[in-house]
Symmetry: C2
Subunit: 329 residues, 2 copies
DNA sequence: TTGAAAGCGCTAACAA
DNA sequence: TTGTTAGCGCTTTCAA
């Protein structure tokens, strides 16, 4: 910067102003400064600016695992919202562990971010203490809870699963099983199972013996379905905690010669690209993944602009997607 | 930091040393400093540290679009490699535009990153000038070129497509069509088409009239296939520029009552999760997406450690995945 | 083993 | 409209 100032014959302060408050610099001077910046290829030092401002222009975002379309869609939304404001995303992963999240967070907080965006609402006590001291806005994603740390954006896992079960009930299904996952370390598996149980209870139906759990993969879905069949319990529909497991169930059905949806309805959760492409196409629930990230970014910007927090809990809803695996009989 | 120093009764310099070079501080003093840090919840200011060091601990990574598993897998690899070294990823997107990439890059460079990781090898002249001035290591991903800007990590699109065509030739296919995409703004579509053409030429076969292009989606694949059939040209195999388009081709085949692979072989590219799950499972090429990111991160760390660049071009290869759509007849 | 001084590059506040 | 001063929080250098 001093090089530019020297070349133009002004002080560094004038160069600084030409960049940040151009209206306070004589047009002719500004012109010469901008030209010198161009020829010298001067790029302002944002680190120094952040030190002075006592806060950077970064937004920390820690997700469990980047290579999972749920998270990457959300990251895309966050990025799209922040880019026009010249903010950048500092990306980290927790590997589904709140302990690891706390460690990553501690390191990232050193860069004095403008905001912190985290997945889920399970926080290590260290993270809570750190975030409280940091004093910037903290936005939690996906698991809607009534009393968030600061602000939460998501949808209700329980209501979404209830909508799925209600849909199956409306199709005349009465013995609706649930395939859960053993490796979802956040609360969504529990919340979805609760939704399934509640919907059945409201309809006056039993859920006993109708729940199986396995690894949250396609293979896990196959295994869970075999397990369910092996118990000998009667069922005419299966709700799965994820599309991946539902695809496993469908694969196993095909192997066993069970006709879907004639003999059995199957539903997934999440609207993975697979759900649409699979044969038969899978009924599922579409989640506002991109919107969650986008709205999170917009909230960050609004709060930076000093606007008050209107809603601590923002429900972005979900969409029931009925496809062939639960078609009308 | 001065708060901690005051509480312990030492200078800030001693606190700084207790953190960065503990062996140069009396064990007893160090103990008291660490304790004070704990009770006060002091978190070092990384911005100030970076200003002093004249370089941050961030690695800029700009990909075309985060919500695409090719890019998110690579980001995951980069993140995994960098995390143990306490480096962080500053994430940006170019939307497949080198102009937009240049703008994002300019803003990110202000934070004085330790390294820059970019997708592809097409750069805006402004980006090149900026990167040259920056003077940090620049790693380009995916499109292997012989003479990269600094260092490139990827695989050969052309060789991968040739391997696919050679596989079809070995199965007795002779009239092999190519379904390309009109919206891939990087070079990979061209390189893959070149691979297809070259493989046919080497086998003494014609490629004229056997290429169609459409939007790079499932719907585009369907449309391209209808177009190909409509031309009336004879063909016994179709290579697609992506799995998504190949799935579109398969959907259209099913609609037209064409048996795959009895009447027609179909191949995709990329090994999207879809490829395995689709019915019939799709033959394709698996790309080292995660490894590309991981190796990029490792290279950054090695070069930070002062190790020399052994290979400017790192070829991580690919893997031919033969599934039902091109099974032996 | 510890401390004092200086400065990384920028900008708020005040002065001219 | 422009310049001067001071300091953001840290660490390198030199001195004790």
């Amino acid at each position: 910067m001093s090089d530019v100032a020297r070349q133009v014959g002004v002080s560094t302060m004038t160069v600084s102003r030409a960049l940040s408050q151009p209206q306070n610099v004589a047009p002719e001077t500004r012109e010469r400064i901008l030209q010198a910046i161009g020829t010298q290829g001067y790029v302002p030092n944002g680190v120094a600016g952040s030190l002075r401002a006592r806060r950077g222009r970064g937004v920390v975002c820690i997700v469990p695992h980047i290579a999972n379309s749920v998270f990457s869609d959300t990251l895309q939304g966050l990025n799209d919202a922040l880019r026009p404001a010249s903010m950048h995303v500092m990306l980290g992963t927790s590997g589904y562990s709140s302990m690891e999240e706390a460690q990553v967070l501690e390191e990232f907080v050193r860069m004095r971010p403008e905001a912190v965006v985290l997945w889920g609402t399970r926080r290590h006590p260290k993270s809570r203490a750190l975030l409280r001291r940091l004093g910037v806005c903290v936005i939690e994603l996906f698991d809607l809870v009534p009393d968030p740390f600061d602000q939460v954006i998501g949808f209700s896992n329980e209501l979404a699963m209830r909508a799925l079960v209600d849909h199956l009930l409306s199709q005349g299904r009465r013995r609706i099983a649930f395939v859960g996952s053993t490796n979802e370390r956040d609360m969504s598996n529990t919340q979805r199972a609760d939704g399934w149980r509640t919907a059945l209870r409201h309809a006056g139906l039993a859920s006993d013996g109708l729940m199986v759990e396995a690894d949250g993969t396609t293979a896990g879905g196959e295994q869970a379905f075999r397990q369910l069949v092996a118990t000998g319990v009667a069922f005419d529909a299966v709700c799965c905690v994820s599309d991946l497991m539902a695809v496993g169930v469908l694969i196993e059905c095909r192997r066993m010669g069970i006709n879907v949806p004639q003999q059995l309805s199957v539903c997934g959760f999440g609207d993975n690209p697979l759900a649409q492409a699979f044969d038969p196409p899978l009924s599922t629930v579409r989640l506002p993944r991109y919107a969650i990230g986008k709205v999170a970014g917009e909230q960050v910007l609004q709060r930076m602009a000093g606007e008050p927090v209107l809603q601590r809990t923002i429900d972005l809803g979900f969409e029931l997607i009925v496809r062939a695996t639960s078609a009308v009989l």
